[in-house]
Symmetry: C3
Subunit: 308 residues, 3 copies
């Protein structure tokens, strides 16, 4: 398996073997990510961080990954402070920046931007989210979290919240289908997962169940994956509040849960998870944010050819 | 004395011994701060710089301190480009970021923010100013400047400007009281130092005198500490101009001064100090800005356990 | 020739010997700029990047240059997030920042800003563009590109676009006059190069010709240097479109060109050069952007005294 010089654009064509390869590499990175061990693996390498829309968590986690491996970071900065304001195309920006650096991580509001960038770039491009498109490193860190804190084999997972527009959960479901997961979907009817995605996932090997409330699913699952519901999805604020209130998790909700249940959330949360949950052994979302570091270290090491 | 893993939130509970310990450590850092010596003391360590309001000088000086010791810096960037715009709490931001880094320096508009952050963070938090609250590294660099350019023992110091709202001068007076300083306060009556602070400082060992003009104090003092008066404090612009004009220092004002008088200012200045003063041996404010570097190097070295 | 501690403000007083010295140094930097060789030449040194107006390309290329040589970068950040918003003068900013770093690169909207900064700074200042003033590193990278991709001796070059306000082309012409270049100027009559500059350049040794269209010049020249025409220069949008359309280069235009013709552009381009030209061997503008890195590495190495 050779990731050297390969762009990381989408999870769709990743095989289970490829995913397992990355997760194993990430595991070896963990002591370095924790600052317990030092590394100069990417010393002398520069990563360009091109974020055409803000995403603090993803950006900081990529930068940390690069720094922990001894590499350097070159930041595009805020977009209106850049040539883009002068009307430059993404293709031109990429063909300039690829002369400065060894790899590019790109966040862009437009679907397909990362793929386009990778066509023009002489250095590997890592997609850090392209609008309604893909966000493969989020999916990989979700998988890594499940592997480390629960288990990918025979997994029972529930996903709650906005399953219609939530790029994160779609991508995660596709990946989990490779492991034959039992997936329970919990969402208000306005935000159900699209039928064609459900069918796809089933065809790939997952078992799918749909329920209306967290309570119906909580006893059974190993992992509960919460997501934010965006107010803007609802024309009526009262309707939003009703839905948001129903898909909220509190210490009370957890009484029926398995002892080993892990709660995940891509963050930032608004009020989907009550603060009181933070101190329970179920809370796993801050660890999940941290796991973004070893996963991104592994990807950077792989595409830059520093590890195999 | 052990600062390892300790947050640096406020000067209030710092003993004279603790201050002396930090200042001595800063002195050893000076050749590295000047770029005359190299250091890898914090190599492999990452400092997160979370500035929720701008403060170029403080931020750049912290970043320099980290870089001069071989460490790396991870910047939150501008706040509206961050998750905070999505409504994330400070506690959540801290619990994510502390997974990426070895220490956090925080600037925040709300009093108490640094203390709150330190309660949630697994890594040491350094307060770089929290609204009307504290700004301990400014006080430490002020003390260091006095030690290096004048003397902390038997000090006669005058503080001029806004002594009512000026967090910087309050904190400095508290610290100087530990050294039994003779402090002369010079301010318009609208901006006098609050009575309870004066009483506190006297109780702790300082001698306090209040006068109306710089001229009344200038002959006697070793250090004159100038501060900015903010226009917004005055309902009447004419009143502001009168006051600002009176508490301004020129080459003329300095004729009566001791030869050894040092003039300090936390910067940026507006017009409290005439440019002509810059070329006199009294001017000490640019050195003072530089001294922020060795002081912050010492603090970073101490809380990260790289020095004792 | 000694560049150590010298500011780099303007090309006007650079002799041919000085330019050749820098270009030779840049050539030695190229393998490091490409990431093929490692260097610690500026390890332990810090470069302050003070950009008072945005310029992504120039800033990123300077930062890359510093990082590729093992140095560190300290960024002022966006200007409204800085003390400047509090009314600080440039002289004060410089006298603070020069205490933090080993060199300063400055971009400023006001002509003369870089010279002023260099008067106050204790560390060398590199001008990265000061309004209508100078931008010496752009000129040096243009010269380097010509040297590497074509030849500086017996050069036939055409410059097309806005030759009236275009600081870049004025500065390049001054420098090329030292090499006795034959320069063809192509511009709409509203944007002709000022008479006094033409006279100056001729006096310094260049041969000048003016024509109306690219077609009249294309057969003869070794290098065609395109520039952007700014809409704002024209009161009438229709007039702008007419002019912009005429000074546009397409694959068609190139049919008559020499096989060795190289096309340069300081970028970003808007539509002066058709995308189809990118794939021809004439296209040289992305290489030109890359060449900014070795040239800036050479300058940083020289002014910091790391190379001679």
């Amino acid at each position: 398996m050779n990731f050297k010089d390969q762009p990381i654009i989408s999870m769709r064509n990743f095989s289970r073997e490829m995913i397992d390869h990355i997760l194993t590499a990430a595991e070896k990175m963990e002591p370095i990510a924790r600052g317990e061990e030092r590394s100069d693996l990417l010393s002398g390498k520069i990563l360009a961080v091109l974020f055409f829309e803000p995403s603090t968590r993803t950006r900081m986690s990529f930068e940390t990954a690069m720094l922990r491996l001894g590499g350097d970071v070159l930041n595009l900065g805020s977009v209106d402070a850049s040539s883009i304001a002068k009307g430059e195309t993404l293709a031109d920006t990429i063909r300039v920046v690829d002369g400065y650096v060894d790899a590019i991580v790109l966040r862009h509001p437009k679907e397909g931007a990362a793929h386009l960038a990778s066509e023009f770039s002489r250095v590997p491009v890592l997609n850090a989210g392209d609008g309604a498109g893909h966000h493969p490193t989020q999916t990989l860190l979700d998988l890594y979290t499940i592997k480390r804190e629960s288990h990918l084999e025979d997994l029972k997972i529930a996903l709650a919240g906005d399953l219609k527009y939530g790029r994160t959960v779609h991508s995660l479901c596709y990946a989990l289908s490779l492991y034959g997961a039992q997936i329970t979907l919990i969402s208000p009817k306005e935000l159900r997962m699209p039928e064609e995605i459900i069918n796809d996932i089933i065809a790939r090997g997952a078992k799918i169940k749909e329920v209306d409330t967290i309570e119906e699913a909580i006893r059974d699952v190993d992992v509960l994956y919460m997501t934010r519901i965006q107010k803007e999805r609802f024309p009526d604020p009262a309707e939003y509040r009703k839905v948001a209130n129903r898909l909220k998790i509190t210490a009370e909700t957890l009484k029926e849960a398995k002892k080993e249940l892990k709660i995940m959330h891509p963050l930032p949360r608004v009020n989907e998870i009550d603060n009181k949950v933070d101190d329970t052994p179920h809370a796993c979302y801050f660890k999940q944010a941290f796991y973004g570091v070893p996963v991104r270290m592994a990807l950077l090491g792989l595409v830059l050819g520093a590890i195999e």
